[in-house]
Amino acid sequence: MRVYLEFGRKSFQKMLQYRTANLAGMATNLFFGAVRVLIFTAFYQASTAEQPLSLHQVATYVWLSQSFLMVIRMWGRPEVSDTIRDGSVAMQLTKPVDFQFYWLADEFGKSTYFLLMRALPSLLFSIFLFRIMIPADPLTWLAFLTGILLAVVLNQSYIVAAFSSTFWTLDATGVGGFCFALQTFFSGFVVPIALWPDWLQQIASRLPFEGMINFPFSIYLGEVTGVDILVGFGKQILWIAFFVCIGRWGIRRGLTKLVLQGG
């Protein structure tokens, strides 16, 4: 365990170098948030019908998802595929550590970095500048933070499994693209799932992706309460187990037929 903490710390330190990039990234996150809130505002103002979520709730949802995007590692690209492509994976395989846990630790270091350097400042902006909702009940906060933590692990096990497919394809852009597309849509990142047509909500609730965005932020909005929260945690944990197993299986199969690239 100690050794994986250390790998996480190393990856955190590596991220610390990119300060300007982080500022530019934060500005981009905030801009996209603004565009999406403005779009929702226009539609809410043009319609008189009662909606499942209020505009204030949707705006809060958008600002939260923009703030936590990088923490959850949406569209994150674990460097595992680069090491397979350039052959440096060989060096790593000589180390007495678990291949999959190494990459999960690496991603976790990045998440911690983005929590402190991206999510917290963005959240302060969202609270003071954009007046997002703030849950009063400390239990809601506890549930929300647990949900986010599980969302982070869920997404990391998903992307590490997806990018380990580089063992077969050597180039992860294609596979990664498909995985990102599924995740972006079905996580409820584009539009909160509560606003979707019923039949599509049914499909989303059977997939792992809603646990990445929609579920934790619905806790924050007070839309998921009581036992439903525990059920949601259970689903997140089951899907984590699923992706960790798939990833392990894929990596083991991949290693038996690995051809080292480069020299």
């Binding site: 530019a24 403005l38 043009a46 294609g174 584009v190 979707w196």
Partner: protein, 268 residues
């Protein structure tokens, strides 16, 4: 002189296409995933209209029309202007020095250096949504309107390349991190998926007068769909919109020349 430049350009483009299609499966997956990811932008339009119904006097497929035009322009600009997008590497690695001693302008050399064929995915999905919108709206086209549409797409492509050029020019001073310009390129694309008239005043003015995004698809669509701007913009704005993008690129290329004259190599 001009034909020679053009011939050389196509020569380079062909070479880039050959390298990018060398691994066929990987290339096709790239195009397909580019298609899929960018088509997700339309899912926002679809989901919102599904939930809220029409927005003022805009129907979903009228917005789809807007969306198609900006997607094609943005896709084309990313395909052609890729060199400016990757320009920070030239500065960081010092390879820009090589370009300064060649007998062509640096602007031209950066342009010919890259060509990103996988953007066919984005262009393709934009075209598909445009054609569907076109059928749903039962548009009637005259030759004049078709020419206007093509000019609009050229103008929009020039506009986005212009933004990328400005972003690349910033690298002469910052050496890295031009991601800032993504706010206006990718962010502009995102904002332009919906009619610019729905945004708040400050936002609408910014993207009409400072960064002329509204001329990429909003004003042309008003003209082609025979709609009026709720904020009372004169109809003539539509007809000059292809020019706006071209002027924007011309100004950007002047800014670029200014940047080049301030270039200090990072050395090897």
């Amino acid at each position: 002189m001009i034909p020679h430049h053009l011939r050389l350009y196509f020569h380079f483009v062909l070479a880039r296409i050959r390298t990018q299609t060398a691994y066929r499966t990987s290339f096709l997956l790239d195009v397909a995933s580019n298609f899929l990811i960018t088509a997700l932008d339309f899912s926002m339009i679809w989901l919102i209209f599904e939930r809220f119904g029409n927005l003022a006097d805009w129907s979903m497929w009228q917005v789809g029309f807007l969306y198609g035009i900006i997607s094609i322009s943005f896709g084309l600009s990313n395909m052609v202007g890729r060199g400016f997008d990757l320009f920070q590497d030239e500065i960081r690695l010092g390879t820009f020095d090589d370009k300064l001693i060649r007998p062509y302008s640096t602007f031209y050399l950066i342009l010919v250096h890259q060509f990103d064929l996988k953007r066919l995915g984005k262009i393709g999905q934009g075209l598909i949504f445009f054609l569907i919108a076109n059928a749903k709206l039962s548009m009637s086209w005259s030759i004049g309107k078709v020419i206007f549409l093509l000019a609009t797409i050229v103008g929009g492509t020039c506009f986005f390349i212009g933004l990328m050029v400005v972003g690349a020019t910033l690298c002469f001073w910052t050496v890295q991190s031009i991601e800032f310009i993504n706010i206006f390129t990718h962010g502009g694309n995102e904002a332009g998926n919906f009619p610019i008239s729905i945004y708040k005043d400050w936002f609408r003015r910014l993207f009409t007068f400072v960064i002329p995004l509204a001329f990429v698809n909003y004003f042309p669509t008003l003209y082609l769909l025979d709609k009026a701007d709720p904020h009372g913009a004169p109809a003539i704005l539509a007809l000059i919109s292809p020019l706006v993008g071209i002027i924007f690129l011309t100004v950007s290329s002047q800014i670029w020349r200014f940047g080049v004259s301030h270039y200090q190599s990072t050395g090897h």
